[in-house]
């Protein structure tokens, strides 16, 4: 009985369900990958499944964190995948044109140019949404569609490959035994958290997303806030673009960051930020992005045939979304919770995450057999 209120408080916490799902997904991997949780030191680098998940999830985390702010204002940004492609294409084509691709100043210049292009995309989106009053989904669709064409123009329709050691560091290098990408992500997330929570930006964003008319009448300059948020989002996508092209040492205008906008939106929603705007949680988004990356990894490790893995992914996403819906929880677990609180606490409450696990665990087994 004594643990019931504490358990209640825990399940009410907005990060509870995303983290629970993440843990369950990680545990599912254990029977398929021996030593899933072990991390080994080889050649001064740390290796292990967990490190890989964070490494491969880095671009998604970046894009999703930027997306969080846009969604919090009640908007959406479909153009991030195209911005990834444009940034990668511009940066790589600059580096490939240089005589010495290892020149540090050249790499910095190229990266700067790529990121400026990203910022310009963000300004364009913000201008259309905030200034022109175009619906965000339509406004950002423009760069989503046209941006890939721009990226192809930059690369002449080719895949540009480069051979630059300094540039390789961002997406594929190591620093202090860990992949450098992880430090980049940590830095961006830290900056984002500081920017939104140490200043009043987070409050004003939530106010604009929570009640636009009230925000106007209270004197919030929502136009500026919205433009800023779209620029942040594009900048995050730009950094992700650098990371992806650095990891492969190539710029692929067609495929870099393809469909990443959808994964990012999903990560934001799994993280507990409502698509209607208002309250947002950057921490939740990071967990959401890790859930999606873990899911992708899991699909490979348990051997779901590649042709069907999207179906599998969709099934898990449905389960996650249902678990997060208070209405669904009340319908399915409501009776158990009610009878459980009166009699005992541990058994009923642990049943909830376990239910989610059995559903997710059952599906792959059927696929494998």
């Amino acid at each position: 009985m004594t643990t019931t209120p504490r358990w209640r408080a825990l399940t009410q916490h907005n990060l509870f369900w995303p983290v629970a799902v993440l843990v369950v997904l990680l545990l599912i991997n254990v029977p398929f990958t021996p030593g899933f949780f072990s991390i080994k030191m080889t050649d001064g680098h740390l290796y292990g499944s967990l490190v890989s998940i964070v490494l491969f999830g880095s671009p998604l985390i970046l894009v999703a964190v930027g997306m969080t702010l846009v969604i919090a204002t009640g908007g959406i940004d479909l153009s991030v995948g195209a911005v990834v492609a444009i940034t990668g294409a511009l940066t790589c084509s600059y580096i490939s044109d240089e005589a010495n691709q290892d020149s540090l100043s050249g790499v910095f210049l190229a990266m700067g140019i790529g990121l400026i292009a990203a910022v310009v995309c963000g300004l364009w989106n913000g201008f259309l949404v905030a200034r022109m009053g175009i619906q965000p989904i339509i406004a950002t669709l423009i760069i989503m569609v046209a941006g890939r064409g721009v990226a192809q123009l930059i690369t002449d329709g080719q895949i540009i490959t480069i051979n630059s050691e300094p540039y390789k560091l961002i997406g594929g290098g190591y620093w202090l035994t860990l992949p450098f990408s992880i430090f980049v992500v940590a830095a961006v997330v830290a900056i984002m958290v500081a920017l939104t929570r140490r200043t009043a930006l987070g409050l004003l964003v939530e106010s604009v997303g929570g009640n636009a008319e009230a925000s106007r009448l209270v004197g919030i300059r929502s136009m500026r806030i919205k433009i800023m948020v779209y620029v942040f989002c594009a900048l995050c996508a730009g950094i992700a673009g650098l990371m992806i092209s650095s990891n492969t040492s190539a710029a692929d205008g067609n495929n870099a960051g393809l469909w990443i906008e959808l994964d990012a939106i999903l990560a934001v929603v799994i993280g507990g930020t409502s698509l209607t705007g208002g309250r947002f949680s950057i921490g939740g988004t990071v967990v959401g992005a890790l859930v999606i990356q873990t899911l992708t990894t899991t699909i490979y490790t348990i051997g779901v045939p590649t042709q069907t893995n999207l179906v599998f992914k969709a099934a898990v996403v449905i389960v996650v979304c249902l678990l997060q819906s208070p209405k669904f929880r009340a319908k399915v677990f409501g009776a158990k919770f009610r009878s459980g609180t009166g009699t005992k606490d541990g058994g009923t409450s642990s049943a909830t995450p376990a239910d989610g696990a059995s559903t997710t665990a059952a599906a792959p087994k059927m696929e494998v057999s």
Binding site: L203, E206, S207, A214, R216, V218, G219, R279
Partner: protein, 510 residues
Amino acid sequence: MAEPRPVLEMTGIVKEFPGVRALSGVDFRLFPGEIHALMGENGAGKSTLIKVLTGVYALDDGTVTLDGRPVRIDSPFQAQQAGISTVYQEVNLCPNLSVAENIFIGREPIRFGRIQWTQMRKDAAELVDRLGLDLDVTAPLSSYPLAVQQLVAIVRAVGTGDSDGAGAGTKVLVLDEPTSSLDRDEVLELFRLMRQLRDEGVAILFVSHFLDQIYEICDRMTVLRNGTLVGEHMVSELDQVGLIQLMIGKAMDQLEGLQEQHAEVGETLLEADGLGRTGGIAPFDLQIKKGEVLGLAGLLGSGRTELARLLFGADQPDSGTVTIGGKAVSMSAPNDAIGAGVAFCSENRKTEGLVPELTVRENIILALQAARGWIRPIPAAQRDELVAKYIKALDIRPANPEARVGRLSGGNQQKVLLARWLITQPKLLILDEPTRGIDVGAKAEIQKLVVSLSEEGMSVLYIAAELEEVLRLSHTIGVLRDRKLVAQIANGPEITPTRILETIASGEHQ
């Protein structure tokens, strides 16, 4: 006098929404060949009754009989089939289609699966002609002004009944605020059409905020208040003062004998010169002095809120100027007014005031923070102290700055809104219906607060539906009628609610 049989009779109509009884046992009847006004303040249940009648809402209890036969109306479509047509305030037509298409949309004459265009145009032209309108039915609707579109909507509504073949015809025509965006000539044309339809035997239900129009066109009226029937009267037997008393629910002599308010008033703070907005409020001149409480009296929809919104830049004026503290203020956005020291608590707390999912603390600091900009957050210690101070001073409950505002009671939400603006130390505080929908205790507290703020030198523009509330608090009373500021009266012992009501009813101050 033997009365003919009513075409429509609604008996004991009950409609409940979660937590609200919008209609409790309302009786309503409508005779053929009359124009009948449905009167009542906002929230009295007029729209709910109309929506029950037209099938938008299902009724919870009561009966509806049409031509003496009980009917069930479960959808707007069934209402139309039964001969009840509605024209709403906003024109619900397709501007890109022709007049004829708009009249017949959804019930085009069809033969062998094809629309009979010639037939349709001919029928439309005949209908338009019969109703005495001069329109080219092949022209796109958008080529006509809004007023004519409104008339086309009526033609369509009338035609809906006609084409049923059986000759059922439109028996009841509901016009919900059709005149709110029309000018005088356009209103006259509408009235001509209404009279013609009435003479053809159609029963017309007319809703309008403009009392003069009611007295000009209507034969009979039904008055609602708080979801109950107050009375049914012939228009010729009830004068405007009597009608307003019925709508507000207080006899004039009951309103007398209140003490007034008396803080010293300083020099002029705000001066509005010819400020106005088409469709909102006619141009007006207004002065507010330092420490003055200016009360606005007038019926709902008389332009009280519109006046306040112009002084805050919430709506953009299309004429006139505003000077605050000797400086011209452009009023192109709320920011301009806020910068000049104006604060505005909207009458719609939920949609225009609070951000429900944010906490009490966040809602309280929002205005101050917006003024400082995002880059300069209020230091946490200072913020918590300010918030705690105002929670205590206004007795906001629960006294928990972390509570979500959406879960607070109406009175406490209003106090949060007040705290938000008081924290910015405004020069002029605009309060639009600050006491609406809150309990008596909170009401008294807010009124006391207004008096003490005025004593401290803050000017207040105070809007309230209750006249005695306005009289008790105000130094000066601005009277509004039909979207015009018709009088500004200095408060004094000789000013009684009766005098104010007479001014509202007659449109001039004696």
